[in-house]
Symmetry: C2
Amino acid sequence: MKKRFLFTPGPSNVPPEVLAAMARPIVHHRSPDFDPIFAECSKRLQYVFQTENPVLTFASSGTGAMEAAVTGTLSPGDTMITIEGGKFGQRWGDIGRAYGMNVVTLTVEWGDAVDPARVAQALKDHPDAKAVFATLCETSTATLTDIEALGKVVAPTDAILAVDAISGLAADVFKTDAWGVDLAVAGSQKALMLPPGLAFLAVSAKARKLIETAKCPSYYFNLKKALKNLADNTTAYTPAVSLIVGLNVALRMIEAEELPNVWCRHSALANALRRGGNGLGLRQFSKAPSNAVVAWHLPEGVSYKDLSLKLRDEHGLTIAGGQDHLKGKIFRAAAMGWADLKDVISFLGALERVLTDLGYAVPQRGGGVAGALEELESYELGFAN
Amino acid sequence: MKKRFLFTPGPSNVPPEVLAAMARPIVHHRSPDFDPIFAECSKRLQYVFQTENPVLTFASSGTGAMEAAVTGTLSPGDTMITIEGGKFGQRWGDIGRAYGMNVVTLTVEWGDAVDPARVAQALKDHPDAKAVFATLCETSTATLTDIEALGKVVAPTDAILAVDAISGLAADVFKTDAWGVDLAVAGSQKALMLPPGLAFLAVSAKARKLIETAKCPSYYFNLKKALKNLADNTTAYTPAVSLIVGLNVALRMIEAEELPNVWCRHSALANALRRGGNGLGLRQFSKAPSNAVVAWHLPEGVSYKDLSLKLRDEHGLTIAGGQDHLKGKIFRAAAMGWADLKDVISFLGALERVLTDLGYAVPQRGGGVAGALEELESYELGFAN
């Protein structure tokens, strides 16, 4: 028997209800079988994004919607400000450079969040900047950016604020409209509890003005065409029908739990993971931790390869390692989407066992689980409904 | 009870085995759970494409891979030759124009296939042309292009031949390498029997040379990056894991049936549909019919809306209408992918009943089914294995 569970920051585990919905016979995407499903999804996405603005759905990974955000609003030569404190912050700059933008980069130490004052200064230094590109949860370092503060800095200027919320959405508190976010990107395979293959993009009125004048070439990810089609409750190109059918079920689950409770659950589980890590004597990596994923330094003498393979082969648990220069330095675990207290407890127990097997001296037997239970004492738990 | 069946040229019906595979718990895309599946898919795709060259997999609709084919091999200002005899032939030109190419268009009457001599002449008139873009099955008109003949015309020149085989692959005979096709595009939701959400692109050595020098901006669909990642048995960005798990099952089914038999089945069913249509007194639209989809003129006095709604609401059968200027003029039906004799017979019976209800005088009661049965007499049928 192989009972597996993903503790990776995407793909995350998909609830059986969603898997079952996606296994239903396929329907045609331009038909009365699909139209109400897509309309419901678009509406429910607005709730999860906390926006009144349109939310586009693309058949692609999240990176596709990031490209749409850049090429749909800017023209070659335009100045854009990016914040690079990890692999995904860098991606905004990579996309901009691929399309000939003038990319102004604010470099941040990996594991740190950007100081909003630096963004304010950059906007003063580059009054021609058309957009600021930020990352809600920088997945590679498990670090949260204070998007609300960035919104206050960017909103009064002519620039728009674009946020990669791919791993953060529904895990970290995120309020697109209230925080003045003009473009918000998300992906299906994170806290939205779906397989990968869908990307989402919320578009504000301020962003739509830029879209009117943008001159980057684009076709599949063309925002004008996508917005026009969304207004007609459809997509420019064939949508990933089965994933959208699953999306509707997943979003209904989030709606039933209510978004503030979903945020609270992610916070509780991430805090429990972190406190559990403390109980195991692990050192957290991020200085501004997100609730989507937790990163720890690898204890001395423990290799990522050994740790991850033992967790996988002996316990059916998949974790993630460090990326780029953090490879072999950190490991990451996420109780994201379809996860609860049981999952965190079992993970910490298995982690303790594997670390011990690998010669690491755990400060106290059961210390990981003890930490998590202590942390979770203050949270209401319940299967009452 | 609502027992539905799609008779649309994509999405097509997904076999229960494939639906079940996609409903399995999700695995991580960079893990030993996924690596062999992706390697198998890439290998099996080569078989279906009939190529020894790499076949890329993108998380997108087929249009995404068309954009990759254009932007990955050309530079702005380059001359490209397109053949526009329908909506999808036009798409090649639309993509080229979006990226600033010099698009030379060979216009063909909708429903006609291009004369290869015209392509040869165009290559003589435009010796700087970098590529010819063609369409195996022009889905909007149910028309087949003679790609083998085009290959003979293009291969001796410096230009590459790119073919949109999205709806044609595995339905119409198609031999990427033997016919000298340099770029072949396909999508998951046609004869490959999967939901939409995956696009494929086979890339020849001649095309790879162009890729080295191409200067169109690109990111998500960047071919250099995609080819480099495929060589490492991975994808540049998060793949649509569950669809790829399903793909492997679908491709295994095609392998077990053997591709020549799959082609033969599509030919048999399409011929049965056409002969059945004759039996109903219907007039075929295409002058060079494909086996992926059949198009008929709408009989006088029968509106597409009435026909399609009655088929849908009374029989659970979904068909497709005409596109652009053919809207309201033709209707299309496809026995594509997971379809057999039973499906064609039941469709023709339901079609006869609906046409009769709508006041159309069928030449002979049961004439549609009779035609199909007559056509299929010469084909071996069997569930022996």
